[in-house]
């Protein structure tokens, strides 16, 4: 018998989709049975009380969680998010229900052993409920009590060799795509860059001094599997400088039907014979492709690296060999002012392991200095860019304006000349001028 009646939540289970309510009930039952004889360090009925307080909120239309708090592990300003229930007598199991963020492995590579260790620790010292993964990318442990936090941190760092993630006005846990480990499109080693910057910026990750949150994300190519362009204050998107590599024989293979387009990904339905004109040439956003007399040509100067043709014919087309990344800035989710995509800041930079990623770090640190000095409290980089103008950002990071910074004339930023950049400045001799120009 469930501890609390939850008719409104039960209804959520009636739909065709998997329901978090069913998951929670399953966990509540497993905790009650406790077949592994775990010495639970927080109330055994925590999940039942969580269901109960949620039902109450559905019923009275208001939240029963208090927001924020002082909990944390010593020396870290993030990684633990204090949550307290405002009906602790009715729901003692969730009187404290703090969230813990744990850094996910780069590219989300797990060994089953590690997953098991994570779950065992969380069953023992927490609610057993996890969120794999939160929107930022980290492992989220939902619900524990204040006395457990230092214990969990100790075990996590000493036995599992893993760190807490970022929260609050910190650098958030950096996230990357699977990259060169598995993906032939990757234009740089996303995992190495992500890992290295995570190590180098420990202070920024754990000790909050930014105006607000700051996210890095690393995509190995413009397919953007971690959607960095939409979700990161700084997005690092793999790209190439030279030409798309073409294997004309393989192009012929797709045209003749020997090779399956999109590596067979759309084979669930019969789409008819592959038509290169219709499915590739005409869909190129910059119309820079041509297929004539059995030969595919690309005008690479016009190519925007959208990846479409490469995705459709991966055996025939590959990114170039001079690879690196583009850096975009200012994306954010719609809290204030609506959602915003990243704006291009650096069209191409080498991602150079040998130099310890110096080129990339120089851009990052210049941006942080600018934002920490100019940003208002709770202002994301993208909002500061809008308020002060893209030109002020360019000046702060010492990058000269280039046409790629303008998405289209008159739409986004005007880059203005400054007086000292113009011969003769703004001053002029009006008398002299009037000699040649009537009023």
């Amino acid at each position: 018998m469930a501890k609390h009646k939850t008719p409104l939540l039960d209804q959520l289970e009636s739909g065709p989709w998997p329901s978090f309510v069913s998951d929670m009930k399953q966990e509540a039952e497993a905790r009650a049975k406790n077949v592994n004889n775990v010495e639970y360090q927080i109330p055994v009925d925590v999940v039942e009380d969580l269901l109960g307080v949620l039902e109450l909120s559905f019923d009275d239309g208001t939240t029963h969680w208090k927001h924020g708090g002082i909990v944390g592990v010593f020396g870290y300003g993030g990684g633990v998010i204090g949550r307290y229930c405002d009906q602790p007598e009715k729901f003692p199991g969730v009187a404290h229900f703090h969230t813990i963020r744990v850094a996910q492995p780069s590219g989300k590579f797990y060994k089953t052993e590690f997953l098991r260790q994570l779950c065992d620790l969380w069953d023992f010292r927490g609610s057993g409920l996890t969120n794999m993964h939160g929107s930022t990318g980290d492992i989220i442990w939902l619900g524990t009590t204040t006395p457990q936090i230092e214990e969990i941190f100790y075990e996590l760092t000493h036995n599992l060799n893993q760190d807490l993630g970022g929260s609050g006005s910190n650098l958030r846990t950096p996230a990357d795509c699977i990259g060169q480990a598995r993906c032939e499109y990757a234009c740089y080693d996303t995992q190495d860059l992500c890992y290295q910057l995570t190590l180098d910026y420990q202070d920024e990750l754990h000790r909050p001094a930014f105006p607000y949150k700051f996210k890095f994300k690393f995509d190995g190519c413009p397919n953007g599997c971690v959607a960095s362009i939409a979700r990161a204050d700084m997005s690092f998107i793999g790209t190439w400088k030279d030409e798309i590599r073409i294997d004309q024989d393989a192009v012929g293979g797709y045209v003749s039907g020997d090779l399956k387009p999109n590596a067979g990904a759309h084979s669930g339905r019969d789409w008819g014979a592959f038509n290169i004109e219709k499915e590739v040439i005409n869909l190129c956003p910059t119309e820079c492709m041509r297929y004539e007399n059995g030969k595919l040509e690309i005008n690479n100067r016009e190519c925007t690296r959208c990846m479409h043709c490469i995705n459709v014919m991966p055996r025939a087309l590959r990114p170039g060999v001079q690879t690196g990344c583009s850096i975009l800035v200012g994306a954010k989710a719609p809290i204030l002012d609506g959602a915003q995509m990243g704006s291009l800041l650096v069209p191409f930079v080498e991602v150079n392991k040998e130099s310890g990623y110096e080129e990339v770090k120089a851009v990052i640190e210049a941006i942080w200095d600018y934002w920490m000095e100019e940003g208002k409290n709770r202002e994301r980089l993208g909002e500061l860019m809008k308020r002060r103008g893209f030109q002020s950002l360019l000046e702060a990071v010492g990058i000269d304006p280039i046409p790629q910074h303008v998405s289209e004339p008159r739409h986004n930023p005007y880059i203005f000349w400054k007086e000292d950049e113009v011969e003769g400045g703004w001053e002029r001799d009006v008398t002299e001028y009037r000699k040649h120009h009537q009023r």
Binding site: G68, G82, Y84, R207, K213
Partner: protein
């Protein structure tokens, strides 16, 4: 300014403001120290290490307060 002076300045200023507020943004602390953020951060980190300051977090925003002065669960807008 020496660290000990900075520490005293921080305590005095936050006590003074403490009548109306218990939580402060990092930028408030940098202003008290009259330092650029990166430099101020080194001093603030030390103050946290020594247990003079402590962190407060809503989950999305972080703030600082004198240790023991803050309300455990008060929300950002509650003061």
């Amino acid at each position: 300014m020496e660290y000990e002076e900075q520490k005293q300045l921080m305590i005095d200023q936050l006590m003074k403001k403490g009548k109306t507020k218990s939580k402060f943004y990092f930028s408030d602390l940098a202003k008290i120290l009259d330092m650029k953020p990166r430099e101020a951060k080194k001093v603030v980190n030390k103050l946290v290490e020594e247990g003079i300051l402590e962190f407060w977090s809503s989950g999305s925003t972080s703030m600082y307060g004198l240790k023991g002065q803050g309300k455990q669960t008060a929300a950002e807008h509650e003061e």
